[in-house]
Each structure stands twice: as C-alpha cells, then as structure tokens.
C-alpha cells in the first residue's frame, strides 16, 4: 500500500541530502518525493510517498525525527487529504491525431500548453490514478517526453501540518490490544 506524509524541515543547505541519505541508508522504498517552499520562509515542506506497510511508514516518520533539521512530520494517509500530481506530456500528433488529443484533454480536464508542428504539450493536474489513466490513453497516440512533479498533499480542514501542531509523543499505537 502507499502511504503519504508531509514533513516540515529547516531550509538549510544540505538538508535534502540528509533526508535522502537517510532513506537510502535505512533501505526505505520511496515512491515519490517533492520539496518546495512553504508559508514560513525558514521552512521547506516535503511530501513523501512510500510503498510498503504501515509499520514501515511509521519507521520513516521516526527516523526523520532523528534529523535535527526536521521540525514536523505528519501522516496524511490516515486523515482526509488532498493529493495532487502534475504532469507535462509531449505528444506526437499529426492533423488527424490533434483533435483526438484535444478531446481527451477535455474529458480529463487537462490543458494544452504548447502547440508545435508535429507535437503538443499537455498539462494535467490531479490525483495519481487520474494521471495514470490519462497517460495510458496518450501512450497509444505516442508520447515523446514526459515529466512529473511527484505528489504534493495537504490535509483537509483542521488537519493542518504546521509547527504549531506542537509536540506529539511517538508511540507504537498498538498496545491497546495487548491485554
């Protein structure tokens, strides 16, 4: 199964290297990793998608907290959240295929952002599933080049991941069933 989490960390040189080195060293299977600026100038946010078990997802969280630059880590898979991925896809088209691509874009609410003699670039944003099915359809037409951002995610409503969330004790969460 896939697990997503959102991590806030200090925006300092080398921190991304520390995070990536940690994932490699602990043998975590990272599906997608996106990094960008946040509402707080000193902090960056990372959305991590891992393929594995929940126990592994918890290990990732606990290991991240060992890095002094990591401020906050929250799981998003266990709360309502919005997940988005963006893809730019350059599709090979001729006069005949172009309307077909435009039609698909309409259905998937994708946009054509560049038109050239024999190709178009389409931009699609959405959940991974939707993008995957769009790509599948375009494959039959002919994909020349593709780039994806990886997923970004955010909890809905009150499920906000900010440093103000404060201190939460890490535990095993399984012990309720012990006795």
């Amino acid at each position: 199964m896939k697990y997503s989490m959102s991590a806030l960390f200090e925006n300092k040189p080398g921190v991304l290297n520390r995070v990536v080195s940690l994932f490699r060293r602990r043998n975590f299977n990272i599906d997608s990793l996106t990094v960008g600026r946040t509402e707080i100038p000193d902090l960056s946010r990372m959305t991590i998608l891992i393929e594995g078990t929940e126990a592994e997802a918890r290990k990732v969280e606990k290991s991240l907290y060992k890095l002094p630059n990591v401020v906050q880590v929250e799981h998003l898979h266990d709360k309502p959240s919005v997940t988005r991925d963006l893809a730019l896809i350059k599709v090979e088209v001729d006069g005949q295929k172009r309307p077909e691509v435009m039609q698909l874009c309409d259905i998937f609410r994708a946009r054509v952002v560049d038109v050239a003699q024999s190709s178009v670039i389409v931009e699609i944003t959405g959940e991974e599933d939707k993008i995957e099915s769009f790509i599948e359809l375009l494959r039959n037409i002919g994909i020349i080049e593709m780039v994806r951002t990886g997923i970004v995610a955010m909890g809905r409503g009150q499920h906000t991941v900010t440093p103000a969330n404060g201190y939460r004790k890490l535990g095993t969460k399984t012990y309720k069933n012990v006795i």
């Binding site: 290297n17 290990k59 890095l67 401020v71 890490l170 012990v178």
Partner: protein, 571 residues
C-alpha cells in the same frame, strides 16, 4: 571584544567544560592550534594517528560520561577519524570532532587536502556542520555539544574552513539554553502506557529484563536495582549493558547473545515477558528473529523512538528516558517473588559448571579466559577494563564480572579492532585515579600500537595486557566451525612485544604460565608513572563457547565439550 574564529572555538569549548582534547595538527587546522596556546587550561594530547584521537575521545567519554573531543586537520586528517566516529555512533558515545577545512573560496575545487568530510560522515554522525561564516561558530559549537549529549548521545562533527578560523568578529556568548527546532523533549511515559506496562508485569510468571547500554546512558542503575528487587525479575545483560547491574547480584544472570551463557539465552527463549531496557535487539543478541523469544510478550523502553519495533516487534513500546519512566513505575509496582522461574533458571545454570573453561585442566596450557579471570581476582575486580575486539573481548565479558557502571569499555556495535588501547588511554586520562587495564589481542593491538608513544609522552598509566595467541582468534574460530578449518590469513606473526616495549622505555613482562599472572599484576602496579606492557602467551587453538552460529535460533548453541572434573567423575 573582537576575536578570531579560532579563539571563539576555544572560548566555546571551554564553556562546554572541555579541558582535554585529543588531536593532530595540519595545515587547515593550524589557526585553531595556534590559538590554543592562549588557552593553557585546555590540555592537548598529540596522538600518532587521528584514529587514535577519535578512540581516545570515545574512551574518555565512556569512562567519564562527558563529551570527548577530537581535533584533526582537513583531508586525510579528517578521514582518519572516520572509523572512530562510526564506532562512537554505533555505541551512542557523546563526542565532538573538530576538523579543519580548506578555505571557503576553494571548497569544491579539489584543493590540497580537501575532502567533503561532512558528506563522508553524514551517515555515521548524529549530526554534522560545515561552518561557512565566523558568525556561526558560537551557536554551531553550542548546538554540537547539545546534540552530542542530549537524547540518545552520539558523535557530532564540526568542519571549520581555515579562513573562517582566521576571520574576526565580536565574541558574544548567549545565556539562553540551546534549542534545536526538530528536537522533541523525550522524558516520561504516558499514563496509559504505564497502566499497560504494570498490567503486563502483573500477568507475567516468567519475566526477564534485557538490560542494555541505555541504562548507563540515562543513569538508571539505582532505579533498575529497585525494580529488580521489588518484582524479583532476573536480568540478562547485553555486552554494553555489563556494569549497569552488579554482576554479583543473585538476580543478575550475565551476558546474553551469541557468546552469552546458555542459561541466559534459554531464559530469554522461555520467558513470558521481556522487558527491554535501553537495548536495541541487535542481531548479535537475538540470533534468528523468526525463532527469537516466541513465548513472550515484550515491552521496550528506549529514548530513541526509531529503535522501537526496529528489529523485534514489541507489544508495548515506550519512548522515554529510562530513569524517568522507572521512577514513574516504581511506586506502583507490587512485590512478587517468581520462585518457580528462578528455580528453572538455576537448573540451567548448574549445567554451566561442567562445561566451564574455568574447570578445564590447565596442563601446560595458558588459557586467555583463565588469565582474564585471574586478572579480575588479583586486581580485586574493581578496575576499568577496556577491551579490543575478538575472542579476548568475549572472555572478558564472560569471566570478568563488573560491579560498577562504566567499568567495561568496549566496541560493541561496530566491533572495531584497534579500539582498545587508544580508548584505554582516553579512559585513564579522564579518570586519573582509576586503575585501567587494556585487554587486547595481538591482532587488534597491532592496528593502533603507534599510540604507545602517546601513552609514554603523556605518562598515561595504562596496563596493556596482550592475549597473544598468534592468530586472529575469532576469525580462526569461524574458519574452524564454518569454513572447514581452512585457516587462511588468520595465523599472524607479531614483533617481540617486550622488545617493542623496550624501544619505548616501557616496562614489560612475558607470561607463559598461569602461576605468573598474579606476579604480572604486582609488576604492573609497581610501575605507575606510565604504561606497562604484559604479553600473555596463550593457547593457540582455543574457542569461545557457547556460540550461537549466525542465523541460528538463540537456544541452538554450540557448547564446550564437558570438562572432566572431580565433581562430574563422581556422578
């Protein structure tokens, strides 16, 4: 007042309580060495190889509980620290390494003696820093010491380019305590965690504590003893857990794991509740995980959340400081006795005597285990013992009982050969009133024996006991068991250690018979103004028993063949 970066460095180190550093100068760290002359309150120990500096700082830290400091130059100086840093990392030693770096302007240009030491040590430090601005030195050094000692301790490296050491700025030392944004306070357990823990303890008939290094790191020895006596629960120790509980105590079973005593490992397999206190279920103590302690529920208390459920799935994991958690739980514990359980363990324990190397006929052989036992006996058993890695290390663990914390210093996690002798120098320099014995093998000693000169120069009274079996004994043992006795690359020639000692003007003695061990202790004690070297020429083909082969279940041990003793003949 304006100070140079180098001066600020020493000002900060002194404020952290540093009065002793181990190091080796070089181009990129020269400004710091030059500035050191203004701070006579800091004693510098010139080592003969930077690895020695790291191990000395490590030994110093383990013996005293303070942060050890190693200093090296850029490039090769820094890379020579690496083994020592990794050793400290795996055994959670608080240590700060200061390295020089090429000037900021040439970083990244493959300048002379440039290495990316923060990149190299990233996975083997708790944290590291490259300081690119003289303004950053104060808070970096403060953070480095804070991180090295707080939570689960570990090594921190601070890399300072030469131009940053030379640059000047106004020196201003803040009063407020250090805060690190990502650091979460870890202390007490939650109430419902305690409730579950107490319930599990009350339901248990065969409880067993697995005691690790974390007990000493959190200073929970007294609380542990109270806990043990109240619940009457026996304690099995990890290698680094030795000393956390007096081994003479009737409820202390001894060391567990690959070379642990059979009754200890059996107790783990038969227990119905394991209480893992500050230990991390290393593969050397669990053996095959799928057959490990299948009869028990498990409670793990560790200050490092990522250790919980890492190797062994536990039923209750408490992230907290062991001393604080035990203090929370102590008033709520009920007196129990668990007599049946103790009787069962005692039964297994009796079996030990017939197989004990201690009961072997000596004949004309000198067994390392006998030497170590006799060292314990004739020194009064209250020394600080620093071991190297290999067979002698395991015999030390089996035959030298420790009664006080921090009296056994050994490289457990990384298993670093060459650690013992320099770490013993560091330990003795930290505790000048203690008797320190470095028990080393002929292989490991030759890795770092260059530090003999350091010990002489600094007049460090360390007693070096070399168990010379003319083999890499532990590797040879594996070749015997698992590689059909092909003793390849394990027979080892050594110099005449006594002549070597002569070259350094170190008093030395060679022991070839058991009767001479007590004399060797007297000999060592009669020379207290510097190191003493004693070579024990021990049996070549001895084996550490019991042994759990890698990947085997913990109860499937290879045992020493029964010794023919007076008592077994009677049976």
């Amino acid at each position: 007042m304006k100070l140079t970066g180098a001066e600020i460095l020493w000002e900060c180190l002194i404020r952290e309580g540093v009065d002793l550093v181990f190091g080796y100068p070089g181009g990129a760290i020269l400004p710091a060495y030059d500035a050191m002359t203004k701070y006579p309150q800091v004693h510098h120990v010139l080592v003969r190889h930077e690895q020695g500096a790291a191990h000395m700082a490590d030994g110093y830290a383990r013996a005293t509980g303070k942060v050890g400091v190693a200093v090296a130059t850029s490039g090769p100086g820094a890379t020579n620290l690496v083994t020592g840093i990794a050793t400290a990392m795996l055994d959670s030693t608080p240590m700060v390494c200061i390295t020089g770096q090429v000037p900021t302007g040439v970083i990244g240009s493959d300048a002379f003696q440039e290495t990316d030491i923060t990149g190299i040590t990233l996975p083997i430090t708790k944290h590291n820093y490259l300081v690119v601005d003289v303004e950053d030195i104060v808070h970096t050094i403060r953070e480095a010491f804070y991180l090295a000692r707080s939570g689960r301790p570990g090594p921190v490296l601070v890399d300072i380019p030469k131009d940053v050491q030379i640059a000047t700025t106004e020196f201003d030392y803040p009063d407020e305590p250090v805060t690190v944004p990502g650091q979460r306070p870890v202390g007490e357990a939650l109430q419902d965690e305690l409730d579950v823990m107490l319930e599990m303890i009350s339901q248990s008939n065969r409880p067993l504590i697995l005691g690790g290094h974390g007990i000493t790191l959190s200073g929970a020895e007294r609380e542990l003893l109270k806990f043990v006596e109240k619940v009457q629960v026996p304690v099995a120790l990890t290698l680094l857990g030795k000393g956390t509980m007096p081994e003479g105590h009737p409820l202390c079973l001894g060391m567990m794991g690959m070379h642990g005593e059979a009754h200890v490992n059996l107790a783990i397999q038969e227990a119905d509740l394991l209480l893992a206190f500050g230990m991390r279920f290393d593969d050397r103590v669990t053996g095959d995980l799928s057959t490990y302690a299948q009869n028990s529920r498990k409670i793990q208390i560790d200050i490092d959340a990522s250790e919980i459920n890492k190797n062994v799935r536990v039923d209750l994991g408490i992230t907290g400081d062991l001393r604080q958690v035990l203090n929370q739980v102590l008033p709520r514990l009920k007196n129990t006795d668990h007599r049946e359980w103790h009787k069962l363990i005692r039964g297994w324990q009796e079996e030990r005597h017939s197989r004990d190397i201690y009961n072997l006929e000596e004949g004309d052989k000198l067994y390392a285990a006998h030497v170590i036992r006799d060292l314990w006996k004739y020194t009064g058993g209250d020394c600080i013992v620093v071991t190297d890695v290999g067979q002698h290390q395991m015999w030390e663990a089996q035959y030298y009982p420790h009664e006080r914390p921090r009296t056994l210093i050994t490289s457990g996690g990384l298993g670093t050969m060459g650690f013992g002798f320099p770490a013993a120098i560091g330990a003795r320099m930290g505790l000048p009133h203690e008797e320190v014995w470095a028990i080393v093998g002929d292989g490991g000693f030759q890795m770092t024996m260059a530090e003999l000169a350091t010990a002489v120069e600094q007049k460090v009274s360390v007693n070096i006991a070399i168990m010379n079996n003319r083999y890499l004994g532990m590797v040879r043992q594996w070749q015997e068991f698992f590689y059909e006795e092909r003793y390849h690359a394990t027979p080892m020639a050594s110099p005449d250690f006594c002549k070597l000692a002569d070259a350094y003007n170190i008093p030395s003695m060679r022991v070839t018979a058991r009767g001479e061990v007590s004399k060797s202790v007297d000999f060592a004690r009669s020379h207290q103004d510097g190191p003493v070297l004693i070579e024990y020429v021990v049996e070549k083909h001895d084996i550490v028993y019991p042994m759990v082969p890698t990947g085997a279940a913990l109860h499937n041990m290879i045992r020493r063949p029964r010794a023919v003793t007076a008592s077994s003949e009677k049976e």
